[in-house]
């Protein structure tokens, strides 16, 4: 499986979205019945760069365009190092999601943009 390129770490905040797998139904008397719909709860990670060096952006762009063809192929991505977090440095199998990506040249030699990774 391809590896996410070794580029500059994203900036804070690193957003993690956890999909709610539940189904809920409110009854006429106000009570709510709920149950799970799937057995696994996938996560989505939103990575943001505000000043990604041009050479790192070039690596990321090639990875997106030629290595994994956007959201087509899954790849391994390592969670950033976070003290006291079991996820710190953990490898996740992910793919790009969220449609088109957009990076802009925000300052000389620096790119800014956001990527969304979805756990496979």
């Amino acid at each position: 499986m391809p590896q996410f390129p070794n580029i500059q770490q994203p900036v804070y905040p690193l957003t993690t979205k956890i999909k709610d797998p539940s189904l809920q139904s409110e009854m006429e008397n106000g009570m709510v019945i709920s149950r799970a719909r799937f057995t696994r709860v996938p996560q989505t990670f939103v990575l943001k760069w505000t000043a990604l060096p041009a050479e790192d952006y070039a690596v990321l762009r090639d990875f997106y365009r030629t290595k994994v063809l956007g959201g087509s192929l899954a790849f391994d991505w390592q969670y950033p190092t976070v003290a006291n977090d079991p996820y710190s440095g953990k490898l996740f199998s992910v793919r790009f999601t969220g449609g088109n990506i957009s990076f802009e040249l925000s300052s000389p030699g620096r790119y800014a943009g956001t990527l969304t990774l979805q756990e496979v």
């Binding site: 009570m31 019945i33 709920s34 149950r35 719909r37 799937f38 057995t39 696994r40």
Partner: protein
């Protein structure tokens, strides 16, 4: 085959909140293949009844009726993004006539061999596009199964054509039976008479 919910299933069904999942399984027999397709509508594989059921995206369409109230075929849409299923469809004449078994099991009772629900269908036709393979399943539905399974008559034994059979149970030496209660009494077998004398004249529609 319509099954009754298990006790565990009824308890799960009645809970106000539960972290268990009702999993829909689909088994598609592939002609000349040793193994059928075993898919589960879930986001991870499960193990049930000694087999691995692969997580797959599929959905069961609505059961519609025609203008005479007869149920139409049921569409079963299976994801065709990877074209895995389409390969089978192309190789085996659209899988028309193949058997599809839909089952419902509960994620917290996967050690139970009997599913909570089970329905058997035949594929009547198939269509494919880039996103979905759609099997139109024949309406072998429980709601269409005749019940009671036999016609019950007031003065005629349903077991006459199976005289001395399992239901009749008569094991004596008397020859053919004419299917009347009187004949059954003569044989001392009226407890197993296959008619229903209590039905009123003119019949009864249930």
């Amino acid at each position: 085959m319509m099954l009754n919910l298990s006790v565990a299933g009824m308890l799960e069904k009645s809970q106000l909140s539960s972290d268990g999942v009702w999993l829909l399984l689909v088994e598609v027999t592939i002609p000349n293949a040793e193994e059928p397709l075993r898919l589960v509508r879930n986001n991870e594989d499960i193990h049930w009844n000694g087999y691995t059921w692969s997580a797959f995206n599929f959905k069961l369409g609505e059961i519609t009726e025609d203008n005479k109230g007869r149920p139409q075929s049921v569409p079963l849409q299976i994801s065709n993004i990877t074209q895995t299923v389409q390969a089978y469809v192309e190789e085996y004449n659209g899988l028309t006539g193949a058997t599809v078994i839909l089952r419902v099991v509960h994620s917290q009772h996967l050690d139970t061999a009997l599913p909570e629900l089970e329905e058997v269908f035949n594929i009547q036709s198939t269509t494919c596009d880039s996103k979905w393979v759609t099997f139109y399943l024949g309406c072998d539905l429980s709601i269409q199964v005749r019940f009671p399974f036999r016609r019950v008559l007031k003065n005629f034994c349903s077991w006459r054509d199976h005289y001395k059979g399992i239901e009749c149970g008569y094991a004596g030496s008397m020859p053919e039976c004419d299917g009347t209660l009187q004949s059954c009494r003569i044989r001392g077998n009226s407890a197993r008479y296959g008619g229903e004398p209590s039905i009123p004249e003119g019949g009864l529609y249930a």
